[in-house]
Point group: D3
Chain length 289, copies 6
């Protein structure tokens, strides 16, 4: 059966199994299937997945080899990543939630292993989670070095001090910039080229706060210590400078609320999960001359 | 004579010669000239171009060395690329058309070898062509691994299932995202940060269809299974959510047609070839307060 | 003391010391402090900074290791960079001004060494300065090869012919595109995803001219041979196709002047230095429905 | 079944099969077995053996990755090796004979794949065969570059002009030196640290000629254009400066014939195949005080 | 104080400390001293020693980076080495004994860190110890892959099945060959180019057995399942084919016992520890014409 | 003209030219010739030779790329080598003398560039010369790190404290070991596997002193603080434990003087230059039974 037509596995896993062990078993099964059908990729799949006894080791190995440089060796990074994942199990459980999020929300994601190996947004977020632990331990130069490697290698720039929830999907991810005091809730989906930026030169709390279940479209720029309420949606290419209430939709440059500032339309679904990018078009098209 | 002032060579080539052999001869001549004038680059030019007996080998070598990683070795990629180019000659003839397109349309392109070696858009498209062959052969995990390498190394994210014509110019190219069911015609020019994106979580045919000769300006976001008609133009930074008729111009966020929805202005030239980004300004400036 | 809470050192340096030696001493002091507190990073800090007798060698080493590839070796790049910096001292003094600019304008910049090692915008600009020297010496293929390496490795695409002043901050920097005939004054700050682009296929002088002290927000697209006057500000996500007068603010797509075309508001500060991204919101919000 | 206890496969192969395809099938079967039992090695076995469609490609890949350097890229070597093996099938058939020789003569050789992957003597001889082809084509600088890479990487120094038969075993191989005008027959076994050296500064035919079936013990030094007759044996540590008749044994420093110069003992077996290093001890022990 | 004139530290360590922790503290102290006095080496010393919390990690890191190849990645080797050292503490205690042996017996060894980082004999033996564990666990293909890497990288060829005691010094080490069924006791010193070889094609127990405290001089060749008695000495360049009694000296090609076969001279010291290579000269010189 | 048949250039160079510039011009001419005739090697020749403005830079580049490792970067080594060669011109003039020696004495040396690029003995000696400078400056840990890299990469082990003259040829070179207090005069030729070793555990002056013009044959072992007189010859495989008078020949294990201890034969030529390895055979053959 061609891999892209495999059914999405039933979720949640059987009660007897943790999410982590269930996802890791799926990943290994996918890797075995692909290694068998594609000899040219088998070496890659064995080294990145099949040879490892746990998701923590596989992820540490893969990130270390992606992010190493001639002056930051893969063995050192591997050690650092594995130690952090072993000591802080919530980091790995957030990774598992991210894998599940990608598999459920992105129709182009054909498997958990596809996400683990190939999604730069996924890899960037996991590295940020590790860097955030280091930042919290006052190991800031090391956290910033990881920040820099991800910005170079994956073109995703998330400050290690940012606080990020679980079940995050950074789709495509190139060009995402998330600033130092940004906060992102759970089950948020963010497309590529999105900026959660600051207001200028002054320090302090100066970046956006993104509620649970928010969807932010490609190229949206959100600036300043403002709130994007839970379940809100920000249209592609929008420039948002003021708060967006929960479950409303902001679009345009500058962004306006669909339905008007006073009585904005409120949607029922959770866009960060439904990934509905464009249902507002009919309403918005009133503005299209 | 400084290389950037060399005249653009007469095209098409003399009838006795194929485009491919003519372009390859130009590339080798440029590389010889540059190796002679710049010893610090000679080693690079010999290894990437002069030492190879054909464009297919030179391109395979260059891509393999750009895209390899510690877990995907250059020798394996070289083999894969060369085999694909040898078996599917239309891939290489499309590459040749792309080289000619870059040389003719981009005033900053000072030679075919410049494009072959340095243009990340060119290299990303050629890799996608190879990945598309693999995708069509149901070698999807391998196609997706190439997809991922290009997204990491070149920050260009083109799904291997997308169908792409000939004579394509991805100018600057950083941040371009092209989704799974997108279709792009011939002689299309696309600037950096352009998105041909989907509408959300549902699978199926969900990405834009771009006609022949279209020009899409920097940072434009085009979402959903909509049509950008042949010879249309999309202004920089536009957010396009509805069809754009042939030979019309859409600009703004949300995008509107120059001349109005009912009776849009129609231009004569083929913007994907003329690369005229800004002639609509006088008309559009009516909207500028 | 956690590194991020160190006070910004008094500037200018004592009169007895040049900016360069003062900044280099700061960098070494930071690196020593960080190497001591973080053994996992000490090797990196020794190889990139502490082992070098001068800023020129440290920068050449770091750039060479970042930008090298299997066909452009680090030793060759190191030699090229060091020779250029030794022969053209104004390049290094501009680098020093850029380091000071980043330290003073970016609240997330916790030290000079942080910028030197980690800021892709800083590293991209320094490489462009070197490539610009080569371009001016008619060593164009080599200049374009460096251009290409920076576009690949850092996702920053600055043509080597562009003319760039001192005290430049490219913040975050991913996706910045600056064309061949662009000119940028002193003390300019440019955020990520900014385009200073051309008008199309014709050669000649076709890119923007940016005055001293300008601030260009994230994702702004400025096209054509237009002037952004000294001290002007361009809002995030704006698409600018016409001149912007000095000390005025242009926002939106297409961009409009805050205060109106006829009598735009004029601000007193120098936004390229003050980094005030969002003070125009109250005025602009009139346009937000 | 532990791999080292696998029976040596019956040889010769069934008549319907060539030696090459039979050996290649054995190698793949061994690699599959080992990849299954040892996940930590699976990636290595897939990349070096299982992913390749032929012995020629597997050998070219493995040699290219072993012998490449920062200035001689693996892709270039792979291309060179594969082209040579494809054009000169006798090189590959000699390689097959060498694999069979190692498997049959060396009790520490637990499989054909063991020899292909791990025996530096085997890899050195195959590279010399390729370099010898290049030498014969007057591509001498390239042949000497390969010669140098093998001397560095494997510490085996065989001049590309030397003529070498089939069924050669260089056991352990470190330190073997074989000069420009040396000739080695078929089914010869040579231990480590053996020198087939010249007589000095004068050019011309100045190195030893080794007959079929000869065995040369560890550390033996054979100097000058002398003949070691077919089936002769040279004891470990011997220094041989004069001809050794067929099927006799020379030992000591300087080497003397077992049985005396006038009427040396003649043995029945072929020592290059029987690998009997020490049966002369009883006779020689007469000299041991 | 120049490093080479540092006094050899008092040994054994204070009773309160284990050998391992005492040696590891010495190593770190030496590395700190050298990093301070030699900035050009500080990065190397931090990455190989100072950044590690234990000797096991430092040794695993150093070996992994020495022995990795493009198809056997450093991260995989690091993991394998560290796991083995953690699970089998006797391996590490043997390594510590080897470090102490080198420091005490080799006047050119200026510190424990010198041996840990630079002595190829030390590094080869430690890898063999790890490979021997794998061999004993029937992970033979992996053990043989390590065997091969050491033979390539260090030119030391010790079969993973060989059994080797503690306090071993392989001085210089290039070219040492030790066969599958060889056994080496404790406190043995072996110079470079020494062979402990087999007798031929037959399998089974066919390599030498070396008693405790033996010294084997450079280039000695010892062949067959013979015994070199405890405290015996084998002169440089000797070819030994018969047993050598305890505390006697064998020299020459073929080797003879000093003092004669019937009543060999017996020495009092333990040559493997005293490293007295040449005291037999006066006796032997009787044979020198 | 095939390269190996090029006449040896007349030497000494014309009076108007220094040896160094004359040899460097020869090297560049050879490299140009070979790059032209062999495209597959052109990249290598440009990067190692043709792109460099001086022999010092070419040699520093080549050694740095050969000897670098993942923890000792090529750029750092390049800097170190170039600085040393620039500050101590006698090191480079000794290198030039070594190149001339190889070209004149070794019939297999087909050009100066052949020696510069490929002769591991040449490269090992030049690195030792640099390490010796560092040793003399009390930069011993760095000197020992270079020592170790050469021992690993080239299997040549020369202690940095050894004092070595000019015009040295280490032919083949694998396995050469030269101890800490050894001294080697000018115009000495040493074959592979030669040991100049110590007497044991005691420090102090304990290694051989080799006079001018000495030739030491393959595998000879010379132990202790003894003198090999000027113009003496040591036969292959000899074990020398006592002084050898000038212009005499020592052979055998243990070594005896040709002609007898009391009245040894004296030769007229300088064997280190004439490279006459075997002329003593007729005399020696008296000992061959």
């Amino acid at each position: 059966m061609p891999c892209s037509t495999l059914p999405i596995p039933t979720f949640p896993p059987p009660e007897s199994e943790s999410d982590e062990s269930w996802v890791w078993n799926q990943i290994k099964a996918e890797a075995h299937r692909d290694a068998e059908s594609e000899p040219a990729l088998a070496s890659y799949l064995y080294s990145t997945i099949i040879s490892h006894p746990s998701l923590a080791r596989s992820l540490s190995f893969h990130l270390a080899n992606k992010l190493c440089s001639s002056t930051l060796l893969s063995t050192s990074l591997y050690d650092l990543f594995l130690n952090t994942l072993s000591t802080f199990p919530t980091v790995l459980s957030a990774s598992v939630a991210d894998l599940i999020a990608a598999r459920h929300r992105d129709p182009a994601c054909v498997g958990f292993s596809h996400c683990l190996l190939n999604f730069k947004g996924f890899l960037a977020v996991q590295t940020q989670r590790i860097a955030h632990v280091l930042w919290s331990q006052s190991r800031r130069p090391l956290a910033l070095a990881l920040h820099s490697r991800v910005a170079d290698v994956l073109s995703v720039d998330i400050h290690p001090a940012a606080r990020i929830g679980k079940g995050i999907l950074l789709d495509h991810a190139t060009g995402v910039v998330i600033g130092e005091t940004a906060v992102i809730g759970n089950n948020v989906s963010i497309l590529h080229h999105v900026t959660l930026g600051g207001t200028g030169k002054a320090g302090g709390d100066r970046h956006p706060k993104i509620g649970d279940g928010v969807l932010i479209g490609a190229g949206a720029t959100i600036l300043g210590n403002i709130r994007i309420g839970a379940g809100a949606k920000v249209g592609a290419g929008s420039v948002v400078l003021i708060d967006v209430p929960p479950r409303t939709t902001a679009v345009g440059n500058p962004a306006r609320l669909i339905g008007g500032k006073e009585k904005p339309s409120v949607h029922e679904d959770v866009p960060g999960e439904s990934m509905d990018h464009t249902s507002f078009i009919s309403e918005w098209s009133d503005y299209i001359i």
